[in-house]
C-alpha cells in the first residue's frame, strides 16, 4: 500500500501518498507535474534526470521517492530566481549549449553542483566531471564552454559579494 512522503521541492512542501517503488523522477514528473526533469535511460547513465537533493546532485531515476522523504530538492524549474536565470542557465543560452534541450535540465543541474564543488574547474576537469551526463546533439563543445562561462561568472559574483560585505 501507499506510504506518505513529505518533500520540499523548489521551496514548496509537498506531502503525498506514493507506492513505495515510485522513483523520485516519476514522483516529480507525474505527481508534482514538474516535467522539466527528463528521463533518458533506465540504467542510471544519462543524467537527464539530475536534480539537487539536500544540496547534492543526484540522479532522480536512481532514488525512490520514499528515500527523499524529509529532503529539500531543487529541480530545473527552481533554478531561476525571481525571473533571473541562474548563471549556468544564462551561459547555456549565451553559448548555444543546447540543441534539442532534452539533456539540458540535467546538464544544468550537474554543472551548477560541479561548480559549487570545484569553483576553479579547468576545461579538462569539467569534461571529466560531466562523465555522468550524456548529450547526443551538441558534441558537448558548447556545454563545456557554457560551464566555463558560468564558472567565470560565479567567480565574478562571488568577488562582488565579498566586496559588498567589506
Amino acid at each position: 500500500m501507499g506510504q506518505w512522503v513529505s518533500i520540499t521541492v523548489n521551496g514548496k512542501n509537498y506531502t503525498r501518498e506514493v507506492e513505495p517503488r515510485t522513483l523520485l523522477a516519476s514522483f516529480l514528473r507525474e505527481d508534482l507535474g514538474l516535467t522539466g526533469t527528463n528521463i533518458g535511460c533506465d540504467s542510471s547513465q544519462c543524467g537527464a534526470c539530475t536534480i539537487h537533493m539536500d544540496g547534492m546532485a543526484v540522479k532522480s531515476c536512481t532514488v525512490l521517492a520514499v528515500q527523499a522523504h524529509g529532503t529539500v530538492i531543487t529541480t530545473i524549474e527552481g533554478m531561476a530566481v525571481n525571473g533571473k536565470l541562474h548563471p549556468v542557465q544564462q551561459a547555456f543560452w549565451d553559448q548555444h549549449g543546447l540543441q534539442c534541450g532534452f539533456c539540458t535540465p540535467g546538464m544544468i543541474m550537474s554543472i551548477s553542483y560541479m561548480l559549487a564543488q570545484h569553483p576553479n574547474a579547468s576545461e579538462l576537469e569539467i569534461r571529466h566531471q560531466l562523465e555522468g551526463n550524456i548529450c547526443r546533439c551538441t558534441g558537448y563543445q558548447n556545454i563545456v564552454k557554457a560551464a566555463m562561462q558560468a564558472r567565470d561568472e560565479l567567480h565574478h559574483e562571488h568577488h562582488q559579494h565579498m566586496q559588498e560585505q567589506h
Partner: protein, 783 residues
C-alpha cells in the same frame, strides 16, 4: 534594422528549454489517460505458437491486453515501404505480429497492454505468457544471402533487392589497364542513433467529432499522418491530427513510421480513453531504426602518377528484419551516388545487395549512406597514397574536380552544382596548422610514441530532393517543402512551416529570414511547425533539407507577401506599382524618390484586413504560401584534419586536435551552423572510436543499454576548431547548402584515417571501426 541573416542570433527557443519547459510528448498528461506498454520478443527468430494473457488481464488496474490479431481484425494495415527500388521484395510487417506468424528480431512486438498506470502496465507485461518455437537466427549482412534459414518466406535468399549502378565492363577494363589496384574489404558497423528523448506517443479520440489526435515524436508529422490514413490506421486524413511538438533529437531515427503510432491511437479509440506510451531506453535500443551496417569490397585502379582510373564496389547492406519506411534509399541513391567523392573517377560501378536479418530494422541515421560512401572512398584514398608513396594532399589534389568543371556529372548519376576543393583544402591546411601537425607527429614518433594525422575530403548530397528525381529513384512521396506566411492585421507574422525542428533552431533561423524579407522585428514573427492541424502540409526535416528546401519556400512566400503589400501601398500612395520601393530593412513602402511619405507594414496589413481602401480586384486578407520543389540537391563539402596519439600500453586513442572546414554555402545563423557541425562531428567520431550496435550469433543485442553501448561522453573530445569556406548553392534563393550532416560524414573517416596513419609504421593498413583500445592493442601486439 540591420540584416539578421548571417548573424549569430541567440536562439529564441532556449528560454523554455533551459527552464525545464520543453514541450515533449512524454510531458503530456490528459484527463483519464491510460498507459500502454508493449510485450516484446526476447528472441530474435521464432514462431509465435500461443499467447496467454489471462493472468495479465486479471491484474488489478489492467484495462485490456491486445494481440496482433486484435489489431488486424480491428482494421489496421501493414506498414508500407516509402521508397520502392526496382524489384524490391517488401515483406509483410504488422504493428504487432499475430500468433502463427513469426517474431523476427529481439524487440518485435507480440502484445500490447493498456492499464491505469505505467507501473501496472509494466507488471502486466511479465504476466503475459508467450510460447515461442525458436528458429535459427539470420545474422550478418553478407552471410544472410547464403543462409538456409529465411527471415521471410517471401524473400528468397534473404535478398530484398539488388541495386547495381554504373558501367561494370568499363570499370573492369579500367582496373585491368591500371598500373596498380588497391583493394579494401571493410565493415561499416551498425550504430544505434540514441536520441536522448526516447520515442513516445499519446493519442486522444474525440467520440463526438470522431477525430483522432496523435502526439508523436516524429521529424515529419504530415507523412506519418498520410501513412496512418492511407495504410495503417484507416482514420481519414481530415479526421486525424498528428502533432510533433518539441522533439528531443532525431538524427533520422524519428523519420519513420513505427508500430506504436498505430497501436496507441488504435487502443485509444477502442477503449475511448486517451492513451500514452513512452519507450524505455532498453526498448528504444531494440525498436528504434538503427544505422549503417555495410560489408563492402572495393577496388581502386591507379596510374603510377596518381591518376584514379576506376572504382569497383560491392556492398552488402543489412536491412534488418523488416523494410523500414525509407530504408531502401539509404544504401542506394544516398550511398552509391556519392562514391565519386571529390574526384574525377572516369568509371565507377557499384552493386548493392540488400539482405534481411534477424536484427532491428536499419534506416537513415545522421548522414545516412553518405558517411558510408565517404568512409569507403577516403579510406581508399589513404591506402592509394600509401601504395604509391604519395602525399595524401598532393594525391587528392591531383584527382580533384576543378572549379571550372562544374556543374560536374559524375559516373554515378549525381550532377554536382559547385565547389572549390583546392580552396577548401588550402583553408583546412592553414586552419589546422597541418604542416605543424605533421612535424608534431614525426617528432612524437621519434620519441617512440604512436601518433597519426588524418585528413579527409568529403562530399554530401543534401536537401532532398527534386520530387521528379526522387520519384524516378523509387520514392512514394515528393520532397518539396511548404511555407505559409500569415500577416496579422497588426503587422505581426506567423510562419507555418512544413519543416520540423528537433534541435535545429528553426524558430530562430526562420524568423531571421522573415525579419529580413519583410522588415519586421524577429520578435514579431511566430514560427509554427509540427502540427498537421495548423500547417497545411510539409515533408519534415531530414537530409539537411530544412533551410535549402523549407527556407527557400519561406523566401518565396515572403516575396508574395511583399508583392501584395506593394500593391496596397501603391494604391494608397496613388502611384504605379512599378514606382514603389519596398525597403526590406524597415518594412516601409514608398514612392521612388520620396521616402518621407511611406506606408509601414502595419499600414499595409491593417488595410488588407479592413479592406476599406484596396485596389480594385484585390482580395482582402494577407496570407501567402509557397510549395518549393528544389531544382537539385545541394553539395556541401568539407576537409577535416585530426591528430591522434595512441597509448601503446592500452591501445587507447587520444584524439588531441580536430579541425573542420566545411563549405555549407551561405549561412543564416553561424552559431547554429557551428553547433550542427560540432554535434555531427561528435557522432562521426563516436562511430570511428566507440560505438557499435552489436548482435551475437543468436541475434541477441549486445549493446542495448547505455551500460553497454558506448555513447561518447564529454571527455572523448578536444575543443573542435571549425571554419568555413563559402560557395553559395547556385539554385536556391538563399544560396545555402545542408549543414546538419556534413560533420558526421567527414568525421568518421577523418578520425579513422588518423588512427590508421598512426598505425602505418607498424604496417597495419586497415582495421574496422570502432577503433577500440582492444582492437588496436591486439593489432599492435599481433594477437
Amino acid at each position: 534594422m540591420a540584416k539578421l541573416v548571417g548573424q549569430p542570433i541567440k536562439r529564441v527557443e532556449d528560454p523554455r528549454f533551459i527552464q525545464g519547459r520543453g514541450g515533449y510528448v512524454t510531458n503530456i498528461t490528459l484527463p483519464g489517460m491510460a498507459s500502454v506498454a508493449i510485450k516484446r520478443s526476447p528472441v530474435a527468430h521464432a514462431r509465435i505458437v500461443s499467447i496467454d494473457a489471462s493472468k495479465a488481464e486479471a491484474l488489478n488496474g489492467v484495462i485490456a491486453v491486445f494481440t496482433g490479431k486484435d489489431l488486424i481484425d480491428g482494421g489496421t494495415g501493414k506498414l508500407p515501404c516509402g521508397w520502392n527500388v526496382p524489384n524490391i521484395k517488401v515483406p509483410d510487417r504488422w504493428a504487432i505480429q499475430p500468433v502463427g506468424d513469426k517474431v523476427r528480431h529481439v524487440g518485435d512486438a507480440v502484445a500490447a497492454v493498456v492499464a491505469e498506470s505505467p507501473y501496472i502496465a509494466q507488471d502486466a507485461l511479465d504476466l503475459i505468457e508467450v510460447q515461442y518455437e525458436e528458429l535459427p537466427a539470420v545474422i550478418g549482412a553478407k552471410s544472410a544471402a547464403s543462409n538456409k534459414t529465411l527471415v521471410h518466406d517471401s524473400v528468397a535468399d534473404n535478398i530484398t533487392y539488388t541495386w547495381p549502378l554504373g558501367d561494370h565492363a568499363a570499370v573492369e577494363q579500367a582496373l585491368a589497364e591500371s598500373d596498380t589496384v588497391v583493394t579494401l574489404d571493410l565493415t561499416n558497423q551498425r550504430l544505434i542513433p540514441n536520441a536522448m528523448e526516447t520515442r513516445a506517443a499519446v493519442a486522444q479520440w474525440n467520440r463526438y467529432t470522431e477525430e483522432m489526435t496523435l502526439w508523436t515524436t516524429s521529424q515529419n508529422p504530415h507523412p506519418i499522418r498520410l501513412l496512418l490514413s492511407a495504410f495503417t490506421l484507416g482514420i481519414p486524413e481530415n479526421k486525424l491530427r498528428v502533432i510533433s511538438p518539441d522533439v528531443g533529437g532525431g538524427f533520422g531515427s524519428k523519420i519513420f513510421h513505427y508500430p506504436e503510432e498505430i497501436i496507441v491511437p488504435w487502443i485509444a479509440r477502442k477503449i475511448d480513453r486517451p492513451c500514452k506510451w513512452v519507450a524505455t531506453r532498453s526498448e528504444a535500443s531494440v525498436t528504434d531504426s538503427q544505422g549503417r551496417d555495410h560489408v563492402s569490397t572495393a577496388k581502386l585502379g591507379l596510374k603510377n602518377d596518381g591518376t584514379i582510373t576506376g572504382l569497383f564496389v560491392e556492398t552488402h547492406a543489412d536491412m534488418g528484419a523488416y523494410i523500414s519506411t525509407f530504408a531502401p534509399l539509404i544504401p542506394t541513391a544516398f550511398y552509391v551516388c556519392l562514391l565519386s567523392g571529390l574526384y574525377k573517377i572516369p568509371s565507377i560501378y557499384c552493386n548493392v545487395v540488400a539482405t534481411m536479418t534477424n536484427t532491428v530494422p536499419v534506416d537513415a541515421y545522421r548522414g545516412a549512406g553518405r558517411p558510408e560512401a565517404a568512409y569507403l572512398v577516403e579510406r581508399l584514398m589513404d591506402l592509394a597514397c600509401r601504395k604509391l608513396k604519395m602525399d595524401p594532399i598532393a594525391f587528392r589534389r591531383h584527382n580533384f574536380i576543378k572549379p571550372s568543371e562544374f556543374p560536374y556529372q559524375t559516373p554515378v548519376a549525381m550532377m554536382y552544382d559547385s565547389g572549390n576543393y583546392d580552396g577548401l583544402f588550402d583553408k583546412a591546411i592553414a586552419s589546422s596548422g597541418y604542416h605543424e601537425l605533421i612535424a608534431k607527429r614525426d617528432q612524437a614518433r621519434k620519441e617512440g610514441k604512436i601518433a597519426g594525422v588524418g585528413i579527409a575530403g568529403c562530399i554530401e548530397a543534401s536537401g532532398p530532393a527534386p520530387s521528379k528525381v526522387a520519384g524516378a529513384l523509387g520514392s512514394a512521396v515528393g520532397f518539396w517543402e511548404s511555407a505559409v506566411i500569415r500577416m496579422h492585421p497588426t503587422g505581426k507574422a506567423t510562419l507555418f512551416t512544413g519543416a520540423h525542428s528537433h534541435g535545429q533552431g528553426h524558430e530562430t533561423a526562420f524568423a531571421q529570414i522573415i525579419s529580413d524579407e519583410l522588415g519586421i522585428p524577429m520578435a514579431d514573427v511566430e514560427v509554427v511547425h509540427g502540427d498537421t492541424g495548423k500547417v497545411p502540409f510539409g515533408m519534415g526535416t531530414y537530409g539537411s533539407r530544412s533551410l535549402s528546401v523549407g527556407g527557400s519556400a519561406i523566401v518565396k512566400a515572403a516575396e508574395k507577401v511583399r508583392t501584395k503589400m506593394i500593391k496596397i501601398a501603391a494604391h494608397q500612395l496613388e502611384a504605379a506599382v512599378e514606382d514603389i520601393v519596398f525597403d526590406q530593412s524597415t518594412g516601409k513602402a514608398y514612392v521612388k524618390g520620396s521616402p518621407a511619405k511611406s506606408k509601414g507594414t502595419f499600414d499595409m496589413t491593417f488595410a488588407a484586413y479592413t479592406a476599406h481602401n484596396l485596389p480594385d480586384g484585390l482580395e482582402p486578407g494577407l496570407e501567402e504560401n509557397s510549395f518549393y520543389d528544389p531544382a537539385n540537391f545541394t553539395f556541401p563539402n568539407s576537409c577535416h584534419i585530426a591528430y591522434v596519439e595512441i597509448d601503446s600500453g592500452t591501445g587507447r586513442v587520444d584524439l588531441q586536435q580536430y579541425c573542420a572546414v566545411d563549405d555549407v554555402g551561405n549561412v543564416v545563423n553561424p552559431m547554429i551552423v557551428e553547433g550542427q557541425i560540432t554535434g555531427g562531428i561528435a557522432q562521426g567520431i563516436g562511430q570511428a572510436l566507440y560505438e557499435y550496435g552489436a548482435y551475437d550469433s543468436d541475434g541477441q543485442p549486445q549493446s542495448a543499454t547505455f551500460m553497454d553501448y558506448a555513447m561518447p561522453r564529454a571527455d572523448c573530445f578536444p575543443m573542435i576548431h571549425t571554419d568555413r569556406t563559402v560557395t553559395p548553392s547556385p539554385h536556391n534563393p538563399l544560396g545555402v547548402k545542408g549543414a546538419g550532416e556534413m560533420g558526421t560524414i567527414a568525421a568518421t573517416v577523418t578520425a579513422a584515417n588518423a588512427v590508421m596513419d598512426a598505425l602505418a609504421p607498424m604496417n597495419i593498413s586497415h582495421l574496422d571501426m570502432p577503433l577500440t583500445p582492444e582492437k588496436i592493442w591486439s593489432a599492435i601486439n599481433k594477437k
